[in-house]
Amino acid sequence: MSAFRARPMTKITASAALVLLMVLLPLLNITIPGVFPGATYTPGTLQLLAYAMLIAALALSYHLLFGLAGMLSFGHALFFAAGAYGLGIVLRNFSPSWLPAGATFVASILITVLIGFVLAALVGSVSLRVTGISFAMVTLAFAQAGSVVVRRNPGGQTGGDEGLTLDVSHVPDALVGVLNTRNLYWLSLAVLVTVYLVVLWVEKSRAGHVVAATRENELRVRVIGIRPYFVRLLIFSIAGALAALAGAAFLLLQSGVSPRVATPDFTLTLLVIVVLGGVGLRWGAVLGALVYTLLDQRLTALAGSEFIAGLPDILRIPLSQPLFILGTLFILVVLFLPGGLAGLTRRNRRPQRPRARGRERMLDSEETT
């Protein structure tokens, strides 16, 4: 709470300290029972934390759409899946003899991010022709199409329902295997920090200001002669590229990917995370992702516990379904905690109503334009 009110310099110092702590975590021996499955240096905990950080990166990219631009997209999972599947497919098929192995790997990641950007530009150029609910529906439909394509296993590339397994022949040895979870953890942290900085940069840029202004009042932006379409498309494409980056790292971390990440349900999870953390706040998205993933993991562990198995049906059935608890928690947050978890620390500050109203407008806009 105090960090929030502090001056920019201290804020930067605090952020740097936090990142440093995260960097050092694999070298420390911290045990927090009930939160982490083991000490912080163990692969299990590192794997979980890395996973949470990648989801946080993805949630940050979603924050660009929903929090900054007020675009309620139901198709963001498409670009994450494009990153995960894209890198898998590129690594398998792209091995120019003139490039050293390390460079092939880096180039593959860049190509994947580019795929995310271009795919988002294509999808966005169609979807953004409409606004509000129609936009939400078109993005949902595209994501559904993506999900169908992935499951159909075109050309044997995606692995269908089985999913895709990482082809490690071009992946540096340091990023392969359980013993190297530490390196994958650092990679995930680097991805999160990168995404955070890009999001920060976009928010502070002219495009960021314009798109935030269109969220509040599209008319005013039109009046000063800017067509919101192109600015929105730019933001949409950047968010797609960032999601693809997170997806690529996800493939490396999990050594594979399943079609689950392409489903609309996965996007809904993102929406839950962003709202849980606090809409409109960068660190809200990060906080939401960390809380959601850790909670999901712990609840899953709890579901399989003997304590739960011994309960009568009426308690056992709901408590053994992590998604039931998370969904209920989410409903409670929407009903009673409009600012999300981040809003808890801002209780005494001015509530965020105007922002929420801006987003409301976006949904209503098809009635007014």
């Binding site: 078109v138 559904q144 709901p318 379904q321 409903i331 009903l335």
Partner: protein, 291 residues
């Protein structure tokens, strides 16, 4: 020829399912501006509880089927009305939050269904006639398609009669056009909200029982998978238009069947392309009131 007849009638049957979900979605959105992600769950709970009742009565008799359909409709209506009353109403006019609550409800309820009925499909036994086929113009049509079409037509007629000839129907039609003006005439439009949710829930619950005949099983995800197509149907038909929902249901389902058969199983993709095309050429949908 016989293939075309088969695809057409099967498409109509699938369209009937889409309509049972989309009609409620469209009315709810038209009147209240709420995009209801929980609508699939109304369908699923209707199906599960409907079949629980049928199973206890007898396996595979027509009476059990009728009981299942009635139960499904009633359960769908009750759950939907409760959703409106306890969750949606608290967030009056906050459309984003309303969508979010229905998203949460959809996630939580599907998880709960999995907890209660398991993750594997539950197979259902319906009257044997429904499992047989009838030959029309050389095409062997599964009999359950006829029942789907019949029930959807009956539901359509019932909703139209309600809208045209009752006071609440009048309020709903007026509210779809201009909700604030309805309240400015001294009418408590919130009662119409609950009613519309209940009607949509009843159609969905009934649709759930029918969907499980169409697919041969019930599962926790049966509603969610239909919901996406129902959304597409609603947007193509024009948000808030019942006639649009009916026409688009048939168009989408028939297109899907034909693309699946003639274009190597690309039905789902064809539907998405159709949605993109409609939105680009006519953003308000086929029958939508205003863009």
């Amino acid at each position: 020829m016989s293939t075309i007849v088969l695809l057409l009638i099967t498409g109509l049957g699938l369209g009937a399912l889409y309509f049972l979900v989309a009609s409620g979605l469209s009315l709810i959105y038209g009147l209240m501006g709420v995009l209801n992600f929980a609508h699939g769950s109304f369908l699923t709970i209707g199906a599960f509880i409907g079949w629980e009742v049928a199973r206890r009565l007898s396996d595979g008799s027509w009476w059990a089927l009728v009981a299942a359909m009635l139960t499904g409709a009633v359960v769908g209506a009750l759950v939907a009305a409760a959703t409106e009353f306890f969750l949606i109403r608290r967030l009056y006019n906050r459309h984003i939050e309303q969508v979010l609550v229905t998203v949460g409800l959809a996630l939580a309820s599907v998880a709960l269904f999995e907890g209660i009925w398991g993750t594997d499909p539950t197979y259902v036994t319906s009257p044997s006639w429904l499992g047989q086929t009838t030959e029309i113009l050389g095409a062997r049509i599964p009999n359950n398609r006829f029942m789907l079409i019949l029930v959807a037509v009956l539901v359509l007629v019932a909703i139209v009669l309600f809208l045209k000839f009752t006071r609440y129907g009048l309020i709903v039609r007026a509210g779809v056009e201009n909700r604030l003006m309805v309240t400015a005439l001294g009418i408590d439009v919130r009662r119409a909200f609950t009613l519309v949710f209940a009607i949509g829930g009843a159609a969905a619950g009934l649709g759930g029982v029918l969907a499980s005949i169409y697919y041969g099983y019930v599962s926790a995800h049966i509603g969610g998978s239909l919901l996406i197509f129902a959304f597409i149907v609603t947007v193509i038909g024009g948000l808030g238009s019942l006639a649009g929902a009916a026409i688009a249901s048939v168009l989408v389902a028939v297109l899907q069947q034909f693309a699946n058969f003639y274009l190597g199983g690309t039905g789902d993709l064809a539907v998405v392309l159709a949605l993109a095309a409609v939105l680009l050429l006519r953003p308000r949908g086929l029958m939508g009131a205003k863009a």
